[in-house]
Symmetry: C2
Subunit: 339 residues, 2 copies
């Protein structure tokens, strides 16, 4: 695990450094660019740029060739955090009030869309760093990824708005594939492989590895939201319940509970966030524990990661040993043991 944390620290710092170098320093600072820098300044572990740089180098690229896309990925991540926090009416991010709670929704929303646009600029640097053909392949994948993100987000928000109750784990994983995996693991690892191999077609097992690791990461995140009392977690505990999110835990609960409990949970989920009381949340948590839903989520994480390790052995079999390859091999273990 030391290697994973070392590489995360190293590549995360590199991407954050490159990100801050790119942020405009001109006016309007107070209403825009200071706010764009806010979430990146709060830290974050740099998982996404680290996966990209490691994939690129494991596939034969130089750090220089990977760094532009790593910067783009980290900027996009911060853009989506700002946007998600507004849409979810979240209270906290990285241990501080969410951006829209500090600056109001309209300015925060403008920061989100601006950061989204800014995140595309580094991809143009690939023209000189990797050549125009590789640059266009990466841009093509980036656009497909951004579309997938929008689709996954649409599903999650739509399910909540309509208080959809008949979801299966398959629906959840379809949503997570698009909303989380597409930009957190698949694009970073796929774009790294394209930049490293200078070919547009990436080994299917590499893409499956990326999806499985990303899905496990999201289920673990859902788990931590209801199970964690660590202050380092950075979001409010039980936030997913207050926000009415359809997580694997909620879906398991709705599948296992009695019809009477189901009606009760349905009414709870339909309440607007600010109308939900701590007592109601405690009651739902009691049901979550009674039906072993947290344990079920942990089982999913273990099996997704086991499958990811199998796909790693296939997808990365022909790449020469390297620190970056070893980081990717050990990464699934980090997902469950993240500090």
């Amino acid at each position: 695990m030391n290697l994973v944390n070392q590489v995360l620290d190293e590549y995360g710092d590199l991407a954050r450094g490159a990100l801050f170098e790119r942020l405009p320093t001109r006016e309007p600072r107070k209403y825009l660019y200071d706010l764009v820098a806010d979430y990146p300044r709060r830290g974050g572990r740099g998982m996404r740029p680290a996966l990209h740089i490691a994939s690129a180098r494991a596939h034969g690229a130089t750090l220089e060739q990977a760094l532009a896309t790593a910067t783009s990925i980290e900027l996009l991540h911060n853009a989506l955090l700002v946007i998600d926090d507004i849409q979810d009416e979240s209270e906290q991010r990285r241990g501080q009030p969410a951006l829209h709670r500090q600056h109001g929704m309209p300015l925060a929303m403008n920061v989100g869309t601006s950061t989204y646009v800014l995140s595309l600029i580094p991809l143009l640097d690939n023209v000189t760093r990797c050549g125009p053909q590789v640059a266009l392949w990466v841009i093509d994948r980036a656009i497909a990824m951004a579309e997938a993100c929008a689709e996954g987000q649409a599903l999650e928000l739509g399910w909540r708005r309509d208080n959809v109750m008949d979801l299966l784990p398959a629906d959840y994983f379809d949503m997570v594939l698009r909303k989380t995996c597409s930009y957190s693991t698949i694009f970073p690892i796929e774009a790294g492989a394209i930049i490293g191999t200078r070919r547009p077609d990436v080994h299917p097992a590499v893409l499956r590895y990326a999806f499985l690791v990303g899905a496990a990461f999201q289920v673990q995140d859902d788990y931590l939201n209801l199970a964690s009392s660590r202050p380092s977690y950075g979001k409010e505990t039980y936030g997913d319940l207050y926000e009415g999110k359809r997580t694997l835990i909620t879906i398991t609960l709705l599948d296992r509970c009695t019809p009477g409990e189901r009606a009760e949970i349905r009414a709870f989920l339909a309440l607007p966030r600010e109308s939900k009381t701590a007592e109601q949340v405690a009651r739902v948590m009691e049901l979550v524990r009674r039906y072993d839903c947290l344990e079920r989520a942990r089982q999913y994480v273990q099996r997704l990661l086991g499958a990811a390790q199998v796909e790693f052995d296939i997808g990365f079999a022909e790449l020469p040993p390297s620190r970056d390859r070893e980081f990717l091999r050990q990464f699934p273990l980090w997902v469950v043991e993240q500090p």
Copy 2:
């Protein structure tokens, strides 16, 4: 004026047709792609794509070469409308309820950011239609334009949030240059010139023409919001006052009124939209009329358009006569006489 309306109809239809061809038809339709198509289906006059196509053809491009960027421009316009309507808490757009009032803020916001991303895709077609070098110049200008939009929007939203009272017309035009002109007139006309001439440097008078026409269009829009009772206007009358916008009319009013009235307007502007009453709005309109603020806005429009005509004669002097060049020459008159 017939020519201007003819060209607007023709090019607007072409761009809208190309736009609908590009919209994804896959799932999720109900929560995403049907909503992305909503504002474009409501119509719009196609001013932005028409300016682009006319500029490109007047500078020597084919329609085919201009159409990808025209589609991008029309998509971006629709994305910004969805986003603006949320940030402004607008009630209506193109004569129907604003998207977030129909589908809720979170889903509408996701439609706005998705449409923003979708708007970039056609620019990649320029690689094959115009060659990679021209395509990269246009993408470079598009990114600068998107940054400018975000900056202008940040200024406008920040001024409202902080109830800024000491603005000058120069501040207003700086904001409008970035928020409106950058994407409505400057980028369309500049990108058209780049595609037509296959050179990155556009005649400065062409850029000044584009700014002046765009600024006049925005002041006219501010004017119509307070002066128009046409149902075809599509937004609620006095919406700018309810939204507390800093328009040239508000700025003129604050400059001309007495200290007591100024304090009264300040308190009015500080109210949230839903707390403002029709009586309060009528009182502010009484002051707007007493101090001839609408007349002042009309003067600005006339002078901006006069200056635009001077810049046209310089910037387009060496281009051969054509229907497209004639459209651009007559376009300033349309801004004040738009049906």
